[in-house]
């Protein structure tokens, strides 16, 4: 058997992580305001700074960061439980999400003491929201071709260029941007670096982009000769590509790659209990349940590797690719099931219909963000030794 497949053996969450689940449920029961399913379905795209600050007060933003910086210092298993419970409940987690998952761990790993002392406590208090500047108008999946450039000047950098599809840039305090600090796009991975950009600086323009559901979560960010201090550089100059890939392992391995449509699944379950169901409905619902149990087990296998300090980049790509397929299949199948018989009943479940519509419309993004299917399948092929 290939080494890659051997990684996927059944693993359990440790008892301590399961015990932590009760604390998370208690917190959500008191701090999560009731909301319509179509609102809860937005969960990790739902931005609510007040909720994120309450979570921070409970000590759960910067959940894996060291206590010395105000982090919770919890392991990957407890992070899994926290994320799983929040997504299943449809909590609006977008405000602190990126900082908690990626930017904080990145700064902790590659940052200087000064950078850690400055940013990490702010992240943990829910005062510093981050976005990630990777894609550009002509650099999507081909990330190595970024053209945004930071030129060395006396005492710092001059930043010029444009980022796009940046999630929540208009509501974030900082961006960690992948930019070219030397060479040309033809140099590919060489000459790329990561800079922390204070989005309140002069010369930065953020234009929110409205999506087909009416939300504006991503945006276009223009840098017009923006001056950044020396210490904007995070990690080593020229190591941006390596650092970005380490960061994407965090982004791809979590339960958020399975749970984006579970609010709809639960809403449909309630509707079937209330209005009755056909055998075909039971087969479909059972199929999603057996698939969820399976994918969750795969995700826990990856989490077990993260908890051991490994970097399961290829395993995470595998879980993300099939996990997002599951997330996308749910609204597609439920819209077919709900409209299977136009003569059946006259009672309209408006909440159910709105939730189906929201997820059907937005679900194409599930397999775009954090790496498209094609990129992920290429990574899996490399892991299988084919490239």
């Amino acid at each position: 058997m290939s080494q890659l497949l051997e990684a996927f053996r059944l693993a359990q969450l440790p008892d301590a992580a399961e015990a932590f689940r009760a604390e998370v449920r208690d917190f959500l029961a008191t701090n999560l305001a009731p909301a319509a399913p179509a609102v809860r379905a937005r969960t990790w795209m739902g931005f609510d700074a007040a909720f994120s600050r309450r979570l921070a007060q409970r000590g759960w933003v910067g959940i894996t960061l060291p206590a010395a910086y105000g982090g919770a210092g919890l392991d990957a298993f407890r992070r899994f439980v926290l994320v799983e419970e929040m997504l299943a409940a449809g909590a609006p987690v977008a405000a602190h999400w990126i900082a908690d998952r990626q930017s904080g761990p990145l700064i902790n790993k590659f940052g200087t003491e000064v950078q850690k002392d400055f940013y990490l406590p702010r992240i943990c208090r829910g005062e510093a929201f981050f976005c990630i500047g990777m894609s550009e108008p002509n650099a999507g999946s081909d990330l190595a071709s970024v053209r945004t450039r930071a030129a060395r000047v006396d005492g710092g950098w001059r930043l010029t260029g444009r980022k796009i599809w940046t999630t929540n840039a208009q509501r974030s305090h900082y961006m960690i941007a992948l930019v070219r600090t030397s060479g040309a796009p033809e140099d590919r991975h060489g000459g790329l670096s990561q800079l922390i950009v204070d989005l309140s600086l002069p010369g930065i323009q953020v234009r929110p982009i409205v999506d087909l559901t009416g939300d504006a979560h991503f945006s276009e960010v223009t840098f017009d000769d923006v001056f950044l201090q020396d210490d904007a550089l995070i990690g080593d100059e020229g190591s941006g590509w390596m650092q970005v890939n380490a960061e994407l392992a965090f982004e791809r391995s979590g339960p958020e790659r399975l749970y984006s449509s579970v609010v709809l699944l639960d809403t449909w379950l309630q509707s079937l209990r209330k209005s009755g169901f056909t055998p075909a409905d039971a087969v479909l619902l059972g199929g999603f349940t057996t698939q969820l149990a399976t994918l969750r087990s795969l995700s826990i296998a990856v989490t077990t590797k993260l908890a051991r300090g490994e970097s399961p980049v290829v395993e995470a790509a595998l879980v993300k690719d099939i996990g997002t397929e599951f997330e996308q299949a749910i609204p597609a199948a439920i819209e077919a099931a709900v409209a299977a018989d136009p003569a059946r009943g006259v009672e309209v479940d408006a909440d159910l219909h709105r939730t189906i519509a929201y997820l059907s419309q937005i679900s194409p993004t599930f397999s775009l963000r954090g790496g498209t299917r094609e990129i992920l399948r290429g990574m899996i092929a490399r892991g299988l030794g084919l490239r």
Partner: protein, 327 residues
């Protein structure tokens, strides 16, 4: 350690040639004898009964190995029978399982599509919830007529049915589904390894076909479905348990069966015409994938059981139900 030892026996005695011979009506005595002598068929018997007293978690790799080697005798069924029978000693000879035997109006007993029904000496069956041991020699056997298949439908006259040996007949259907889930996971592992190897060796347009992106992506998706099958099968084989629990088994059988169409069709598509030839070993596994998907109920059957259990429960969320009832 058990797995290595049983792998060694299977490598020696369960060669592709031996599989073909048994499928073509040859004697299964040599292979069965080797397995019986090794003691592996008694792994789940209690230590007092001369077994190893192993739980499901410990024997899971052996059930997977049965699929990986396309074992053409009911060894997995016989290991399971030891757990199902408790203190009752199973009879000598090839013993298989029938999860859904039914009594007809004339009093006769029928069991449709029994795995290894064509070559079994005994059948441990579920008859209206009772556990019954039936002598296959007394049955009227109707083979499937499918080339290479060892399955058959069996029918006994009323007087061929003795007293029940237990009231846990319903467990036969569940255990049989669980062992087919494990066998599916093992066969898919093998099919994937064969396909990956073939794509690295086969040269077209001047390079190994595995260097083409379209082939790579098909193999990546195949790997995803094989990984799902492997972890799903394991769900049924809980530590500390002797009998697979219903809903975990439903998940295992549903999810492994659901992987079959993609895994089998990708393996064949990438092998080209040679994959469907008799002489090439791929067919030993891909034929079994389709047979085992249907054995003891496909994903349609098991997903419905899970769906109805969820709908009938008071659990507010699919995730919570999954954690409490399946995992």
């Amino acid at each position: 350690m058990f797995t290595e030892a049983i792998e060694a026996i299977l490598v020696d005695h369960c060669t592709p040639a031996a599989i073909r011979a048994i499928e073509n009506g040859g004697s299964a005595a040599a292979l069965w004898g080797a397995l019986a002598e090794s003691g592996f068929l008694e792994l789940m018997a209690s230590e007092e009964a001369g077994g190893a007293g192993l739980d499901l978690d410990a024997v899971f790799p052996i059930f997977v190995a049965m699929g990986r080697h396309a074992v053409p005798v009911p060894a997995a069924q016989r290991i399971a029978a030891r757990a199902l029978l408790g203190d009752v000693a199973p009879p000598q000879g090839l013993l298989t399982l029938a999860g859904h035997a039914q009594r007809a109006a004339d009093g006769s007993i029928g069991a449709a599509h029994v795995a290894f029904g064509a070559i079994a000496d005994h059948v441990l069956a579920n008859l209206d919830g009772q556990l019954v041991l039936l002598d296959a020699a007394r049955a009227q056997r109707t083979t499937t007529g499918i080339r290479g298949s060892l399955g058959a439908s069996l029918r006994w006259t009323a007087d061929a049915v003795g007293a029940p040996v237990g009231d846990n007949g319903a467990q036969v259907a569940v255990f049989s589904a669980a062992l087919h889930a494990a066998a599916l996971a093992g066969a898919m592992e093998r099919l994937f390894a064969m396909t990956l190897g073939y794509c690295n060796d086969r040269v077209q347009f001047g390079k190994a076909i595995g260097k083409f992106q379209s082939i790579q992506h098909q193999l990546s998706v195949m790997a995803e479905h094989v990984a799902c099958a492997g972890v799903a099968a394991e769900l049924a084989f809980k530590a500390g348990e002797k009998i697979p629990p219903l809903l975990a088994t439903a998940t295992a059988k549903a999810r492994t069966s659901a992987s079959v169409p993609l895994v089998a069709s990708t393996a064949h598509a990438l092998h080209g015409a040679i994959g469907v030839t008799e002489e090439f070993d791929l067919q030993l596994y891909s034929r079994r994938l389709h047979e085992w998907r249907m054995a003891d109920g496909s994903e349609t059957y098991w997903n419905r059981i899970v769906g109805e259990a969820l709908l009938g429960s008071a659990t507010p969320s699919v995730l919570q139900f999954t954690m409490e009832e399946i995992l």
